[in-house]
Symmetry: C2
Subunit: 338 residues, 2 copies
C-alpha cells in the first residue's frame, strides 16, 4: 500500500525495488563527461536501421533487453512495461516494444516520461496486480529535430538557449528484489508560466520542476539536505540557473544538492566544446543518466537518498503555431538505498 501525504504526494509502504536497469547512448553522448557510464554505445545514429524512427525504437528495445538480461531473466518474467517517447503517437515505444508481448501501458509525459513511467510501474506493482515491471523511454536527435524543429538537411541555426536532444534510452526494472527502494513520489501538476519560445525549454520547464520539488519537500517535511542529490531531467544550463532562483522565492535552497541530467551529459557548462549550447534534452537524456550514473551511485553506496524529478514540456509544434504557450510538468521519484 501507499500512504497519502498530500494530493499527488505519497510514500510507498510496500517494498518496491529497482531490480535492474540499462542504458544505451549515442556517439555524441559517449564523448561527453558521462560517456563511460552507459551500458552500450550506439556509434551509428541509424543503429543499422533504415529510418531514425526505427533506430529510436531499437534504442528502447536494447535498453529494456539490457535491464532484463542483467537480472538473468527473460521477457516472460515481466508483467508490465510502461513506456513513452516524444514522437507523434509515441511510435518509438509502441514499435520498439511490440515484439516483447508484455502488457503495455503507453504514457505521454514528454521528457518527464522516465519519472512518470517509474511512478506508474511502482504504484501498479504496489497493488500486487503486477509482480515485475519495466519502465522505458528514449529520444533520438534526428527524430526530434525533424518533428519539432526543422529537417536536418535544412541546416537551420540553433539559438543560444537551445538544447541538444540526446540519442539515448534507459530502462528500469522494478520488483521486490534489489538494493534500491522506490520510497515515494510526487505526481506533477501542469505549470504554465506563459513562455512560448520553443528553443528555450529550460525556462519553460524550470517552474514545473520547482513546484514538484517544493510540493514533495513540503508534504514530507524534509529539506534538500536530507537528500544526496536532487536531480532534474533536462533543464540544461539555462533552466538549471533558473530553478534555484524560483525555489528561492519559497524559501528553499537546493543549490548544494541540485544536479541536472541535461547539464551533465554534455560539456555545455564547461567550455561547450561539443557545441550543444545549453546541454542535453529529450526523454532519453534523464533516463540514460539515471540508469548510467545515479542508480549506480545508490547501488554502490555513494548515495543514500536521491530525488529524481524529470521535467517535460507538453506542447506540440501545431499548438505553438496557433499562438499558445508551453505547459510543462515534472514528476518526482524518491529512490532510497536499502
Amino acid at each position: 500500500m501507499a500512504e497519502f501525504i498530500a494530493p499527488g504526494v505519497f510514500r510507498l509502504t510496500g517494498d518496491i525495488r529497482v531490480e535492474s536497469y540499462g542504458s544505451v547512448a549515442g556517439k555524441k553522448e559517449s564523448e561527453g563527461p558521462l560517456g563511460d557510464c552507459f551500458d552500450e554505445i550506439a556509434e551509428d545514429s541509424h543503429l543499422g536501421c533504415e529510418t531514425w524512427e526505427q533506430a529510436e525504437s531499437l534504442l528502447q528495445r536494447r535498453a529494456a533487453g539490457i535491464a532484463v538480461t542483467k537480472a538473468g531473466l527473460t521477457k516472460e518474467d515481466v508483467d508490465l512495461v510502461c513506456a513513452g517517447d516524444l514522437n507523434n503517437q509515441c511510435i518509438a515505444s509502441a514499435y520498439g516494444l511490440r515484439e516483447l508481448g508484455i502488457p503495455y501501458i503507453g504514457l505521454y509525459g514528454a521528457c518527464s516520461t522516465m519519472a512518470e513511467s517509474i511512478l506508474t510501474a511502482a504504484l501498479f506493482a504496489e497493488t500486487g496486480a503486477v509482480r515485475r515491471t519495466l519502465s522505458v523511454t528514449s529520444s533520438h536527435f534526428s527524430t526530434a529535430e525533424r518533428q519539432f524543429r526543422f529537417p536536418l538537411s535544412y541546416g537551420g541555426q540553433r539559438t543560444p538557449t537551445s538544447q541538444w536532444t540526446c540519442t539515448a534510452a534507459g530502462a528500469v526494472m522494478l520488483s521486490g528484489s534489489g538494493g534500491i527502494k522506490v520510497a515515494g513520489g510526487c505526481i506533477g501538476v501542469i505549470a504554465d508560466m506563459g513562455i512560448n519560445d520553443m528553443t528555450n525549454m529550460g525556462s519553460a520547464m524550470a517552474p514545473a520542476a520547482a513546484e514538484t520539488i517544493r510540493r514533495y519537500l513540503t508534504a514530507t517535511g524534509t529539506s534538500p539536505e536530507d537528500y544526496d542529490h536532487i536531480v532534474t531531467g533536462d533543464l540544461g544550463t539555462v533552466g538549471s540557473e533558473l530553478l534555484p532562483q524560483v525555489l528561492d522565492t519559497v524559501g528553499i535552497d537546493i543549490r548544494s544538492r541540485h544536479r541536472d541530467c541535461g547539464a551533465m551529459i554534455f560539456d555545455a557548462a564547461d567550455g561547450d566544446t561539443q557545441d550543444t549550447h545549453c546541454g542535453g534534452s529529450g526523454c532519453g537524456c534523464s533516463a540514460a543518466v539515471l540508469c548510467g550514473h545515479f542508480l549506480p551511485l545508490l547501488e554502490t553506496g555513494q548515495a543514500e537518498n536521491i530525488l529524481f524529478a524529470a521535467t517535460g514540456a507538453l506542447m506540440s509544434p501545431l499548438i505553438l503555431q496557433q499562438g499558445e504557450t508551453i505547459p510543462s510538468i515534472a514528476h518526482l521519484v524518491h529512490f532510497r538505498r536499502v
Copy 2:
C-alpha cells in the same frame, strides 16, 4: 490491494467505485441512435473557440467538469487526473486540463485511452496514494482528420471501410463511493497482424480486442454469459464482424454479448443515413458511450456486469509512410454493480 491472476490480468480486492461520470458529444453524434444519452451536446464544432484543437480541449474540460459537478464536488476534491487523446503530444489533454491544477498522468493509448485511464486511476487509487481520481479523454472529427488524413478543405473521398472520428469526450470519477465497482481489469498486449491500411482501423484493432477479451475470460475462468455486455471501443461495423470470427478460433462465442461503441453511436449498421461508412471512432467515442449509455445501465440495474474493452491503433502517419504496419492494443475494465 489487487490480486494477480495472470500477467496483466488482475482483480481489485479493494473498493474502488465509480462516483460520477460525464459525457459531451457533438451535433452529428447527437443525431445518432444514442443522441439522447449524453450529458451535453456541443452544437458548434468550434465550441466558440478559435481552433478545433482548443475546442477539443474544451470538450475534455467540460466532461471533467460535469463529472465533478454531478457529485457535488469541486476540482480541489480530486487528487489525480489521468488523460490522453489522439493529437500529437496529446495537447487536447494537456491544454484542456492544465488550468485544473490537479496532479496529472498523461497517457497515450490511442482510442484505448478511456479503458487505460480508468485502469491506471483505479490501480493508483487502490494503493491509497490518491483518494479521488478523474479519467478523461476526447476526440474531435476535425483535429483527427487534419492530423491523420487530409485537411478538411481538401474534400478527400472516404473509403468504404473508414470510420468517422467522433467529436466527443467522457470523464469517469473514481473514489470509494457509488454503486458501480471496478472489479478487475486486463492490461493490453500490443498485437500486430500486418495490416497497413489506415482507413481500415476496425480490422487492425479486432485482433487486439480478441486477445484481451480472451486473456481476461481465460484467466478469470469466466465465460461471455457471465457478463451482460462485452463492449468494445470503436471497431465499427467491419471490426465488429471480424471480432467474433477471431474469437471463434479460440472457442469463445461472444456474439450474444458483444456491443461496439463505434457501431452504436451512428446508424452505420442500420441504413447509414449519417454517411459515416463503418460507424464512429476516436478516444471520445467509447468514452462518451461508456459514460452516456453503459454506466447508466449499471447504475439503474439494467446490467450487473460489463466488460469494457477499448481498442487503440498505435501507429502514426509518418511510420506508415515508412512502410510499417499498424500495431494495436485493447485494455479492459470489468465494471460490476454493487
